[in-house]
Amino acid sequence: MAVNKQNMPEIKKKRDYLPFMVFFLLLCGGLLGCLSIYSTRITEPTPLYFALRQLGWLGAGSVLFVFSSLIPFRFYKKNVYIFAGISALLLLAVLLFGYKVNGMRGWLALPGNFYFQPSEFVKVFFLLFLSVFAAKEKKITPGRFFIMLSFTFFFIFLLMKEPDFGSATVFFGAFLIVTVSKEGSLKSFLLAASALFISGIYFIFRHDYAFMRLLAFFNPDGAGVRSWHMRQFQYTLAHGGWFGSEPETTLWAGNYLPLPHTDSLFASLVELTGFAGSTLVILIFAGLGIAFTFTAWEAKGRCGRLYIFSAAMLCFFQALLHISVNSVLLPATGVTLPMLSYGGSSLLSVMLSFGIALSAASENDPDDPVAEMDDTGNGEKVLPDP
């Protein structure tokens, strides 16, 4: 294997900076989240309660981030089927013994008044499984594609039973990101999209609330009280202005938005920090996406490369889903904003996901090479023999 050695020091330098940059961006997001959570509870008797808990989760997440990035990516690849099995069991367990919050049976009760949301962690291992499985061959064969699709639909089916429409959308997003970036055929892709469309229609007609949300989105003036949530998002954003309100006067989100510290966090943040703050949050996610795309290009392992890119894109995708719902660009789906929304499971899973991505970035597995470079000196890479 010949490598263009002229580029090596620069690549190494970039990789040295990467963990710090990623950690810095995640920390900025986490702290902004704590501030927004505090602002949504300003009129409550204990306004700091959720913000301090989230700060604690941020500390625990930082430890998990460092720890998971130090474990060699080989370990994750080797045990991916065990992780996938445990994930499926966890989703089954939540259906049987789960704790119901806001009409969704999505939490498992732990000792010490803690609740654990398995779907957040399952998302990480689901993506890892898809990346490892898809990277085994040069192109995704139709057979492999349908195994991946069946696996995805099995997980989505379990999530819909909770029912967690938001997470199901994110899981399908993960499937699309992996298959599109790994050369799935157009025919298979269209088939998957049709399956999603039919499933979506079925779900919407089975659940009145989903149908009403859709109606309210397309016709807010004719939907009456059903468009209430949408209106509150508009009013909350309007309270933000360019640079936001004073913390003492950010009252609209806390008093009118549904779940202002989780599902409506972005709108709460806009009320507090205005358009400037919202741009900063979008830039943080875009920055993570761009940084990890370049890192994926430079990664040595095929599987690691796919995981790095997919993990960053999935986080960006989920963030955009949340932001779009909160800015009335999409109908309500009930997705949290990664890193910023309140919730230990959500925050820890994001940290774990990026920790594994960093581990993949530093991987140098000879059994899983991306490509071999020629020694012509122009730095162009050539494909290895299949």
Partner: protein
């Protein structure tokens, strides 16, 4: 998967997400900056409520500073709904005992003439259950009203005349008052009207944000206190008024004196 193909595909996905992010950012800009005023005005209309605080009206006093006539607002507990079924009446009897254990039934004379009995089952629409509630009672009953809509706190006028046998001519000269739409008492005839600026005072306002359940967000209360009306001192004594002595006040703003009440 070739390196070039992966780069190309990853760039497509990244570009798509970046475009989406740009679109979302434009939407945020639209609501938070571009159409800010429109949505702020709409939200204020729905989320804020303004209340008027009526000022205390000044009294008409004689030259010895004794009150001749004072009109003020009082608040009564009034029946708003009468149940015809026995079951509903029994239920209300229990509610009355629970909510208002100590109130007195004050039957108005016309009700007594009709021979209505002083018991909860003899209630009729508009009947006053308790007159002249204190401030604490108004708050208490207003809270109860949210649960039991059979009763309400209603504003009424209390016209206190020092001497009951004041001649009709004198009463006409002193004048009458009526509440306006904000609950402020306004003179409509006689001296009450003539010296309105002095007696009426200036109403206050309080604005408060309501939460989604309609409760006050107390941190947001803001407003102005009312300026109470001043007393008007007449150049005659009550005895002289009873004797029918005529009088006049040269200056409409003269004779004002702070009534000291808050």
């Amino acid at each position: 998967m070739s390196e070039t193909s992966f780069r190309k595909r990853s760039l497509y996905i990244l570009s798509f997400l970046l475009f989406w992010a740009f679109l979302a950012s434009c939407h945020v800009f639209y609501y938070s900056v571009w159409k800010k005023e429109k949505y702020l005005t709409e939200s204020r209309k729905k989320g804020w409520k303004e209340y008027h605080i009526p000022p205390l009206r000044g009294a008409l006093k004689d030259k010895n500073n004794a009150v001749i006539l004072q009109t003020r607002v009082r608040y009564d507990l009034v029946v708003t709904r009468v149940h015809s079924s026995l079951e509903a009446r029994k239920k209300r009897r229990k509610t009355l005992k629970r909510l208002y254990p100590s109130f007195l039934f004050e039957m108005p004379p016309e009700a007594l003439k009709k021979g209505l009995k002083l018991n909860p089952e003899g209630l009729y629409y508009g009947m006053t259950l308790k007159k002249d509630l204190s401030a604490d009672e108004v708050i208490f009953y207003a809270e109860q009203e949210k649960k039991e809509r059979d009763f309400t706190v209603k504003m009424a006028l209390n016209r206190e005349v020092a001497v009951k046998n004041l001649p009709e001519k004198v009463l006409q000269k002193l004048g009458a008052v009526l509440p306006d739409e904000n609950g402020c008492l306004r003179g409509v005839s006689g001296m009450e009207k003539e010296y309105e600026l002095l007696l009426g005072g200036k109403g206050g306002k309080v604005a408060v944000m309501l939460d989604k359940y309609g409760f006050w967000v107390t941190e947001t209360i803001r407003g102005t206190l009312p300026e109470n009306g001043k007393d008007l001192i007449l150049p005659v004594s009550i005895d002289e008024l009873l004797q029918g002595k005529d009088f006049s006040l040269p200056d409409k703003k003269a004779g004002g004196k702070d009534n000291g009440s808050k």
